[in-house]
């Protein structure tokens, strides 16, 4: 059997499992790791049948689900917390955002969070000058003083903070305001039906390594072997790894089936995102997104884990 996985260069615990070849061991499959630059490409690859399992953020996930693509969310990696935040200069209250230049990569999770935050503060989108820039370019524009703030993630977020940026709100706050953003693993439905055992094994390995991290984040310090493995795979400097990891509220294996994740909130969050996107005029929301979420593999994985214990 071959299992084709689409991944992104995101610093999260499963990189270590990837580096250790734990997935190969657990699934017994021949694994091809395909790297993608963003969620939209991952979705396209899944839709074309080029990959079986892929890593996406909640925005592309929502777009795909809204278009009725045959995919299921099998593992929520975690909610984005202070990994993404709105950092500004010379602005102390949301009111002062009016008329200012705020940059964010459009259509990203950060963009969604920014719009949610503005909505929460009762600021009309048009009152703020929203600029579409990629992370690297945001860093450059900040450096030049062309922008007053940005909703962005690490390492650029860090860069901005180091350059005098103050955090006005982060994604943990936005999640509380009803706009959770998260990253997740999704699977092609057809593949899931044919090889449930492989998918289960995949979820199990992911869950275990995440649990590993959650149990002892200190063991993943800058000098650790884990950090080195992550750095090797993603290209991130090893020194930055702990901070990058800290930016997410990761969900362990046991969390998956809870009401906060696949057990309920995930489908809700997708729906909320979709409705928001619909208001923006960029997508058409469906009534129900429960078809895009499948907790059964997580359940099965939990059982095998308990059985082992």
């Amino acid at each position: 059997e071959t299992l084709r996985i689409g991944w992104q260069q995101i610093v999260e615990p499963s990189r270590v499992a990837q580096a250790d070849k734990s997935y190969e061991e657990a699934t017994g499959a021949d694994i091809q790791w395909n790297l993608f630059g963003g969620g939209a490409d991952v979705i396209a690859a899944i839709a074309s049948g080029s990959i079986d399992i892929g890593y996406v953020g909640s925005s592309p996930l929502t777009a795909a689900a809204s278009q009725g693509l045959p995919i299921e969310t099998i593992y929520v990696v975690g909610n984005i917390a202070d990994a993404e935040a709105l950092a500004v200069k010379g602005i102390s209250s949301p009111e002062e955002l009016k008329g200012k230049k705020i940059a964010t990569p459009f259509v990203s999770t950060a963009h969604y969070s920014l719009l949610t935050a503005l909505d929460h503060w009762g600021i009309a989108q048009n009152d703020v000058q929203l600029l579409n820039l990629r992370p690297q370019e945001i860093a450059a524009a900040w450096e030049r003083g062309d922008i007053d703030g940005a909703y962005i993630w690490d390492p650029v977020l860090n860069q901005i903070k180091a350059g005098g940026g103050e955090v006005l709100a982060d994604s943990a706050d936005v999640a509380e305001w009803g706009g959770a953003t998260f990253d997740a693993w999704i699977v092609r439905k057809e593949f899931a039906e044919q090889h449930p055992e492989i998918v289960t094994a995949f979820v199990k390995v992911t869950g275990e390594i995440t649990d590993d991290y959650l149990a002892d984040p200190a063991a993943w310090g800058a000098e650790s072997e884990n950090a080195a493995k992550i750095a090797e795979l993603t290209g991130a400097p090893a020194a930055d790894v702990p901070a990058l990891l800290g930016g997410y509220v990761f969900a362990g294996l046991q969390d998956q089936t809870s009401a906060d994740f696949l057990g309920g909130a995930t489908a809700e969050a997708i729906k909320a995102t979709a409705q928001f996107l619909q208001e923006q005029g960029s997508a058409t929301a469906l009534d129900d997104y429960s078809g895009a979420v499948n907790a059964s593999f997580a359940e099965a994985a939990q059982k095998t884990e308990t059985a082992q214990k």
Partner: protein, 271 residues
């Protein structure tokens, strides 16, 4: 029957048989449309990625009337057209003289050749941050990114066009007392014009190609920006509508260039 246009050039009497030839193009376009309709009707690709012509037409109407991504189609087109043609002018203002210098002066070649060779393979996605650091996030950066992509075709075509002037044409001008600059203006530039025009045509294509990358830079309108936004949300009908609009604009400018060629450079292929 197909035929070489061999007797065409000076032929005083054209054979009327091929009067349908111009319509072959329309047939091709029709054929493509049909293929597309069939492909989407029979579901050869999921409708998310290959929406039917009807849906793309709807998307087109939607953006034309209501707008999409914060602006109407007309505004997107205006923004992109401005950028592409501003970049073209910039690239020509820099590229043609640079090409002439490279072609006519060893020192010019020594200085400019390595610069051009260095610039031309650079991927815009890689140097975008540097552009922003040095030129900010305004229009100049966007135009610059497009202009950089256009520069090499224009320079290279100019250099190779200068060779079209024969030795004796150049020498003749010099025997009439032409200065270095006059030789360039009166002989080399006209001789290079056909090739420069070819360069411009290639450059325009390259410019449209780079539009999306350029409009990654803090754009709030523009076709590339519109396509990019739609692509991220998998609004494929809009992506394809945008692509078709770009193709249409590019085709129009291409036809314009061909007209210019026929009208103002009648000597191409003669002598």
């Amino acid at each position: 029957m197909v035929d070489l246009p061999l007797t065409e050039t000076p032929a005083p009497r054209r054979r009327p048989a091929l009067s349908w030839a111009p319509y072959v193009g329309l047939v091709t376009i029709g054929g493509l449309l049909l293929l597309w309709t069939l492909a989407s009707a029979f579901g050869w690709a999921s409708p998310v990625f290959l929406p039917s012509p009807g849906r793309v037409w709807d998307a087109f109407l939607r953006v034309a009337t209501e707008g999409y991504a914060n602006a109407t189609l007309a505004e997107h087109i205006a923004a992109s057209l401005w950028r592409v043609f501003a970049a073209l002018i910039a690239a020509m203002v820099v590229g043609v003289p640079a090409g002439l210098l490279i072609a006519t002066s060893r020192v010019g070649r020594g200085i400019l050749d390595p610069l051009i060779e260095f610039i031309r393979p650079l991927p815009p996605l890689a140097y975008l941050p540097l552009i922003i650091i040095w030129f900010g996030i305004g229009e100049p950066s966007k135009v610059l990114v497009i202009a950089i992509a256009m520069l090499a075709p224009i320079v290279i075509s100019t250099v190779s066009g200068v060779r079209a002037a024969s030795d004796s044409q150049i020498q003749a001008a010099r025997t009439f007392g032409a200065s270095r600059w006059q030789v360039i203006r009166e002989v080399m530039v006209p001789a290079a014009l056909p090739s420069i025009l070819t360069g411009i045509r290639i450059a325009l294509g390259a410019g449209w190609t780079t539009l999306v990358a350029a409009e990654l830079v803090a754009a709030t309108r523009g076709l590339g920006y519109m396509i990019q936004s739609a692509a991220q949300f998998l609004v494929t009908d809009m992506v394809i509508a945008g692509i078709l609009v770009i193709s249409a604009l590019a085709t129009i400018s291409e036809l314009g260039l061909r007209y210019i060629e026929r009208r103002y450079l009648p000597w191409i292929g003669k002598s």
